[in-house]
Each structure stands twice: as C-alpha cells, then as structure tokens.
C-alpha cells in the first residue's frame, strides 16, 4: 500500500470535517475520493499532502510515517482546482520550479522540462506565460509541474472542476491515458460520480467526514454498501421499500411475471436515447416510481401516458433496502 491513512480526525471549530477515517491507497493506481461538497474529501487530500494537519491519527506514505513531516519533505505532487500557476513565470519556468529548488544541474532541468512539455502536449508553449494559456492547458502545465519532481504520490484536488464540460471530458480521458504511461500512485478528489467511475481504478466514497465504502467502480456500482453510495453513484428510485436504479426495473404491458407490481404511466420524458417514465403504483399510497427505458424499447412496447403496466426489478439488480 502506498498511502496508509489511520484514524484521522479533523475538526474546524465545531465542524467535524473527518471522523475516524481509515483508508489504504494502493501503489500505482488511480484512486478517486468521491463525495458531496463539504464531505471532507479535500480535507483528507490536504492532510495526506501535509497542507493541513490532522487533530489525531497518522499518515504513512510509501512505508514511512509522514504524519509529522512538513509538505516540503513529503515528496508529493499536488494539483489545485484553480491551477495555482506561478503567474510571473513562463510555462517552462513553472515546470522547472521544483527541480530548481532541488538544485539539479541546469542541463538536466532543461531536458526534463522538455520531456514534460512533450508529455503534457505543451511543446509549443514553453516560453508563454500561464495567462496566455487556456484553462485546460494551464491544468496540464500544473500537472507537469507536479510530476517534474518525480513525486511518490500525485494528489489532485478537483483537477477538472474549473473547466467546461467538453474540456473536462477530454482531460479526464487524457489523465487516464497519462496514468497508464506514468504509473505514479494518484489520488484525485471529485464530486462527479461519472468522472470517478470512468477514470479510477478504485473509489473511496466519503460523506460527512466518514468513509462510506471503498472498492472498484464495478463493486460500488453493482453492490453499493448502503443507500447513500447507491444514490450518489447514479439515479435511484424506490420500489416496494427497496432502492433500485431506474434502468434496473423491467416494464411489462401484461401481468406475466409473478410478483410484478401493477402501475400506470403518468409522465414520460425523452432525453436523447433514453426515456424516463414516471409510473404511479396502483396501490393505496399511489407512490411514484421512475423507470428508464431505451427509446427503442419504449416504441416496441408502445409505452406512453395513461397506459397500465406491470413493474418488476431485473434479475441481479443492484438493490439496497430503504432505511
């Protein structure tokens, strides 16, 4: 394990940011700290980096106890949401900064900077100032700057949070490919479940200062530990006292399957290839259930407003009892 976080507690005044957090982050993998804003994930990342100190607990990086080490001595690369570019230095100077601090020979710095500029596809921009770059380019520069010192772990705090949707998606794919190339242990904070599911090898779900679940994207999506994890990773709906995903509920136009629940479609909403149906159960409470079907499926069954249907969860659907 590359990073061992043990029994971390952190308060800001009366606010409990982290409560008894234990996390092991595997070497060479891309791990996401996923959770809602204010849930403590950034605080945890900053404590791992040494930018914040925990009230109690310990942090171990690559087998050495780093709890008392200042940020300068932890050999971590940190990337900030808003780039934290050194505005008065050129892109190349920004990247060279950590190497200059380490007093490496000039030639070596020059070669390494050229290498990194190539890695982040900024070869043409070395002499420019950060203000002359786009947001995505600035973040790639920040990444190169952090990688320059060959950190034992790379920590990214909402790295794509300040970028627009399209660039965010591009950079996300690019980060995944970069990580396959560089293999440095990477931890990144995000509140975007799609980003976490798409990019990471492992996800740590953090909410209200506690770890809710740790696992691969598949594990988290297919067998969520509780209703929070399930609803945070995607849309959910309640059927028969159980939480399901809207696409995990089958819709029939006849009461064929045993135990299927009679209902009536009250609304339909088409979004691209999928159709979201709001279905009202025909029991006493008239509960509303959301079901998602593909456009093709909707057509073939002729599903529309006012039609009577029967609902049944699909086989092996992810399900969590509603507390």
């Amino acid at each position: 394990m590359s990073i061992e976080v043990k029994n971390i507690n952190k308060r800001f005044g009366n606010f409990v940011a982290l409560e008894n957090v234990n996390v092991s982050i595997p070497t060479g993998q891309l791990t996401a700290l996923l959770g809602p804003s204010g849930g403590g994930k950034t605080t945890l990342l900053r404590i791992i980096a040494g930018l914040e100190s925990a009230d109690s607990g310990s942090v171990e990086i690559e087998g050495t106890d780093a709890t008392q080490l200042p940020v300068q001595k932890r050999n971590v690369g940190f990337v900030f949401q808003h780039y934290a570019a050194f505005k008065h230095m050129s892109v190349a100077k920004n990247i060279a900064f950590g190497l200059e601090i380490r007093k490496r020979p000039k030639d070596e710095i020059k070669d390494r900077v050229a290498e990194l500029l190539e890695l982040v596809h900024l070869e043409q921009f070395g002499h420019r100032l950060p203000s002359q770059l786009s947001g995505g380019q600035r973040q790639r520069m920040a990444l190169a700057r952090a990688l320059a010192v060959e950190p034992s772990v790379l920590l990214l705090d909402e790295p794509f949070g300040a970028l627009d949707a399209k660039v965010r998606k591009e950079l996300r794919d690019w980060l995944r490919r970069l990580h396959d190339e560089v293999h440095v242990t990477t931890v990144f904070v995000t509140h975007d479940q799609e980003e976490a599911l798409e990019v990471s090898d492992e996800i740590v779900v953090i909410n209200e200062g506690r770890v809710e679940q740790v696992g691969s994207p598949d594990t988290l999506y297919d067998s969520p530990a509780n209703d929070f994890v399930m609803s945070f990773l995607g849309p959910t709906t309640i059927l028969d006292g159980t939480l399901y995903r809207p696409h995990d509920i089958d819709v029939f136009t006849h009461p064929g399957i045993e135990g299927s629940i009679p209902a009536r479609i009250v609304r339909e909403l088409r979004v691209g290839f999928e159709v979201r149906l709001t279905v009202e159960l025909l029991d006493a409470d008239h509960e509303e259930v959301t079901v998602t079907v593909t456009r093709a499926h909707q057509r073939s069954l002729g599903l529309s407003d006012g039609i009577d249907v029967w609902l049944s969860p699909t086989h092996a659907a992810a399900a969590v009892p509603v507390p």
Binding site: L51, Q72, G77, H82
Partner: protein, 280 residues
C-alpha cells in the same frame, strides 16, 4: 462562415496608422484629460523649468552648488532615500501583518496607519515637536538636528507602501504558495520567488510616492528641525527663503533639480521592479 472572416481580414489589413478609430466619446474623454493634465501639471512644470533656464546653465549650476543649498539638497535626498528604504521593508511587513495575521486591535491599527495621511502636516510637526523636541517626555531630543528631518519624513510617508501593498497581498492566492511548498520550497524561497515578484510593482509604487513626498516635505519638519543651515535645513525651506529674497530663478533651479531627482528615482524604481517581477 468564411465570408465574415475574410471581411475581418480586409478590415485588419487597412492602414491602421492613419486611422486612429477614436469614437466621439473617447475623443472627448482624451481631450478633457489632456487639457486637465496640461493645465495642472505640464504648464506649471514647464514654467518652473523655463524660469530655471532663464539664467542660463552657469546660473543654474551656481545656484545648486551654493554650499548652503548643496547641503540642504544632500540632507533632503539622503534622508528621503533612507526613509524610502525603511518604508519598503517596514511597510511591506506591516501590510503582511495586516493581511495575513489575526490579532486583537487589528481594526484599530488599520485606522491608525492612515493618520499620517489624514493629519494636517503642521499638526504632525507639532506632534513631533512635543514628542521629540527639547522637552521630550521620552527623553529623546532630536530638535535642530538632521535626525529630525529623517523622523518627520518617516512619519508622513509611513502609509504609502502599506496601502499600496495591502490590496495586492489580499488578492494573492494562497494555493500558489501551497503549490510552491509542495514542490519543496521553504518559506523564504516562497517569499522571494513567488510573493515578492507579485508585490514588486506595488512596493515600487509605494516607494516612489514616499520618496516624492519626502523630498517635498515642509510642514511636518519646520518646527522640529529648526531649519539650521548646513545642519537641518531642507530644500523646501531653501526654496522658500530664495522666494523671500526675491530670487525666483534660484528657487526654480532648486525645484528643477528636485524634479529631475524624483524622476530619476521613479525610473530607477520602475527598472528594479521590472527586474524583480520577471525574476523568480
């Protein structure tokens, strides 16, 4: 899509030197600013220089090399330079404390900093006289010495660097410093390579203001300094006595020299500032 782009091209390739593209409102704005600036600054300054030049180069040289005048110029300029250096360090430090630290009485300190700005200079002079004069309650008697000039300069120029640096410091992102720290930079290196280059323009501007203010200072020091020739007489007092002796050309000569020195200092400060801001 391609047509408007081409139109844009032709627009750009038109000879732009002949076409200033001033709209009516910019034209009026620029005109008024220039007129205002000319009336208040350019014409009076030219008049002073013209008056100094009236006697010719030898007269000018004779005036400023007059022993008493030269001593006054030396005292004024050296004191002003010294005060500016002190302000650069102390002012930056005070701004730092005001922005980065939290302590009881911070609001009060914020207020007190501006007092030298707000106080009529003669009141400042009276304050200094009662504190550092012959009957000093502190036992510090600087009356009738060159030190009193330095002290008065220090008092009136205190806020300049503080007030120039403070807003810039407030705007600095702390994550930039954290980024530098995560790359291994210690606090001193962070200050020197990350913070100082961002502050340099503000520090230079504050320094220029405090130097210019010191060179021309009169009210706050006349009481304490005693205006003793060769000892505690400053240029502004020298100019006044030249006027009183009906020696306008002499007064204008000294004034012109001060003008040149101030200009030179501003240029030097700007060069230093650019160098510091580019370094890092």
């Amino acid at each position: 899509m391609s047509t408007p782009v081409q139109e844009g091209r032709t627009g750009l390739s038109r000879p732009t030197l002949l076409n200033h593209n001033l709209t009516v409102s910019t034209g009026i704005g620029l005109g008024i600013s220039m007129l205002w600036f000319s009336l208040l600054v350019l014409i009076p300054l030219s008049a002073v220089i013209a008056a100094a030049a009236a006697g010719g180069w030898t007269e000018f040289w004779r005036t400023i090399t007059n022993e008493q005048t030269a001593a006054a110029i030396k005292l004024t300029v050296f004191s002003a330079v010294g005060v500016t250096v002190v302000n650069v360090v102390a002012g930056t430090m005070i701004a730092w404390v005001l922005v980065r630290d939290r302590f009881p009485g911070k609001g009060l300190l914020e207020l007190i900093i501006d007092i030298p700005f707000a106080l009529p200079t003669i009141v400042a002079g009276l304050v200094l006289l009662s504190l550092y004069g012959v009957d000093s309650p502190l036992g510090l008697n600087f009356a009738n010495t060159g030190k009193s000039v330095f002290l008065a300069f220090l008092f009136v120029t205190l806020p300049f660097v503080v007030r120039m640096v403070q807003p810039v410091l407030e705007e600095l992102d702390e994550d930039v410093e954290e980024a530098a720290a995560s790359l291994g930079a210690n606090r001193f290196t962070i200050f020197r390579r990350i913070i100082l280059p961002s502050l340099a323009p503000a520090i230079a501007a504050g320094a220029a203001l405090s130097f210019a203010r010191a060179v021309g200072e009169y009210g706050s020091l006349v009481l304490l300094s005693g205006n003793l020739p060769f000892k505690s007489e400053v240029t502004s007092v020298r100019i006044l006595s030249a006027i009183e002796n009906d020696n306008r050309a002499g007064a204008a000569s000294i004034a012109t020299l001060l003008l040149v020195i101030s200009l030179a200092v501003i240029i030097v400060l700007d060069l230093v500032q650019r160098k510091v801001a580019r370094r890092g």
